[in-house]
Point group: none
Chain length 190, copies 4
Amino acid sequence: MAKPKSEDKRNAILAAATQVFAERGLSAPTAAISSEARVAEGSLFTYFKTKDELINALYRTLKLELSDAMMSGFPRKQGVRHRLEHVWNGYVDWGSAHPEGQLVLRQIQVWGGLTEEVKAATAAAFGEFDRIAEDAAEQRVFRDMPMPFIWAALVSLADMTMEFTRRQPEQAAEYRAQGFALFWAGVARK
Amino acid sequence: MAKPKSEDKRNAILAAATQVFAERGLSAPTAAISSEARVAEGSLFTYFKTKDELINALYRTLKLELSDAMMSGFPRKQGVRHRLEHVWNGYVDWGSAHPEGQLVLRQIQVWGGLTEEVKAATAAAFGEFDRIAEDAAEQRVFRDMPMPFIWAALVSLADMTMEFTRRQPEQAAEYRAQGFALFWAGVARK
Amino acid sequence: MAKPKSEDKRNAILAAATQVFAERGLSAPTAAISSEARVAEGSLFTYFKTKDELINALYRTLKLELSDAMMSGFPRKQGVRHRLEHVWNGYVDWGSAHPEGQLVLRQIQVWGGLTEEVKAATAAAFGEFDRIAEDAAEQRVFRDMPMPFIWAALVSLADMTMEFTRRQPEQAAEYRAQGFALFWAGVARK
Amino acid sequence: MAKPKSEDKRNAILAAATQVFAERGLSAPTAAISSEARVAEGSLFTYFKTKDELINALYRTLKLELSDAMMSGFPRKQGVRHRLEHVWNGYVDWGSAHPEGQLVLRQIQVWGGLTEEVKAATAAAFGEFDRIAEDAAEQRVFRDMPMPFIWAALVSLADMTMEFTRRQPEQAAEYRAQGFALFWAGVARK
DNA sequence: CATGAATGAGTTTTCATTCAT
DNA sequence: CATGAATGAAAACTCATTCAT
């Protein structure tokens, strides 16, 4: 099979892209990425046919990392609040641990070139949440608002919280707790 | 800022930039903007020395528009909650009325080329809020969290709400109200 | 109107393209052309949006030059044979005088990127020939073969003749005459 | 030429090259050829050191095929006219049967990278014609023109004829006959 | 020998900016 | 001041060729 396309190299390119995009924006030249990845300019294109495809792949990768972080050790048996808090903590912690990843994720979301396929694939990874939603609906945990609205609130508040933990890592714990408290008070019934 | 040659032309360029950036991203060519503004390619550069300066100026302009929208009819005498709700409504309504402006604002925020000067200037425009903050602190309206955290929560929830009103304009009123309710319940004491 | 797009510069680019393509083939870099034309690399693209468009324009230009050369002093009143000989001489002489042009024309014909529009436009320039054809048909000058077949024979024999005059310019006159004699004997009745 | 590793694979590459060059021009990537030949990209270069060498080899191959087609069943004992007509028919029929080969041949002729060695070798394959020429001279069959001029006329008229048979295969027989008639009337004495 | 990943020079094209008119 | 042609430094991408497996 000759030299097989190495997973290592692919990952190196993705890591380099994260780094470079975080520093210079999505308009950074692909040459900067290949250079950062210690790979020839052309090699980038044997792993990703176009720059757009690279960005899509990067988005998918980061999102899956993020969902892994959120779901690891997920307390499936616990109540809605505990499960949500677990998710929240996973989200915020991952963002604090991977500030470039988080930055790049936001850049890509605002970018406009994501394919429907990748959007669908990443959305699917967050499927566990549907179960939380069902339980929540059954137990009438939340106030009267559409479920997607609640999820969006969680995500946007978590993103906002991450900004704070990124700038003041020493107070990460407080922000994380306060952010979730804000969210929960905002959405929970009574 | 000096005295520009023709305020009209300058505004036409800013409006065109909003339009074009919203459609094609910040990487859209300046030629597309001058063309949309019915102005010569070179003229753009007599009003804005560089593209970066144009983006900075656009950010400042949009932010000021936004703050105007939020402050018009501001009920200075009313309680914290009413004042905040006024601000919230202004924000969400402006975003619904100017979806391109809102989109571009987000793009610029993630862009990375904003000068400190513009950041400071736009922050200043939101000075009225400090007074709300003071009153709130005095009356112990909010739970224990830093004021900037609360502002950030308001902004991110408002942005999120705007997304919903943009996609389902017919339910704008509900979303606007639910968003504020969520925010208020999240931050108000007890 | 500022600096108007200069006809001179356009022509310089076309001339340079003829030169460069003749020497290095159609795959020659556009940079070689702009350099030969003493023009910036980018300028080429203000006159021709793409390389393909340049090649099409070049083809049209050369073909029109050629048809001009063939039609100048055209003896409209004379018999079919004289008119054809005039055309033949114009063709062969132009090819001898512009060997690069002739070479490039052949390259472009074999190239495969000509637009229908240009094909039609250049074909139209050879419209005078239709009249010759009509007269010829009426007078039953030619043997029984389709008119297009006769034209094609003229063109291919003329091209072939040009090759000889190009390589042995000192015998151009003989070749030119022999070529036409061959053609005429080949197509004329009896 | 050395002993190639697998005559089959070499032929597959040449066939694929004919196909691909006919469709996409000589600038088609070698990868397209190896793929069409169901051979690894690198393998192409064990059979042909460079792309130029491949093109030269392809030219030689096609020309030899052509000369084989022309000489098979050659009526060595017959008169000049019969022998020439045989050759003409062979030429035109091969071109009709192998339109891609014919197309590629023309592309290569205009290409500019043929080595002298290949030019000489292919010219040699047409050696039988010298004998026709000698007989013709002895019998004063042709009008007064240089022999090479006559050969060139045959070739260019045959090429032209092939174009017609390719486009209207149902009239191939007529065109073939008319083309030869034209040629013969053009070159034969009286 | 076969394979196909790796390479990096080379290609076309874009675009912010300048400047002659 | 307005104009838009001119500029040339990138940028994304291609591809013949090499070479580790």
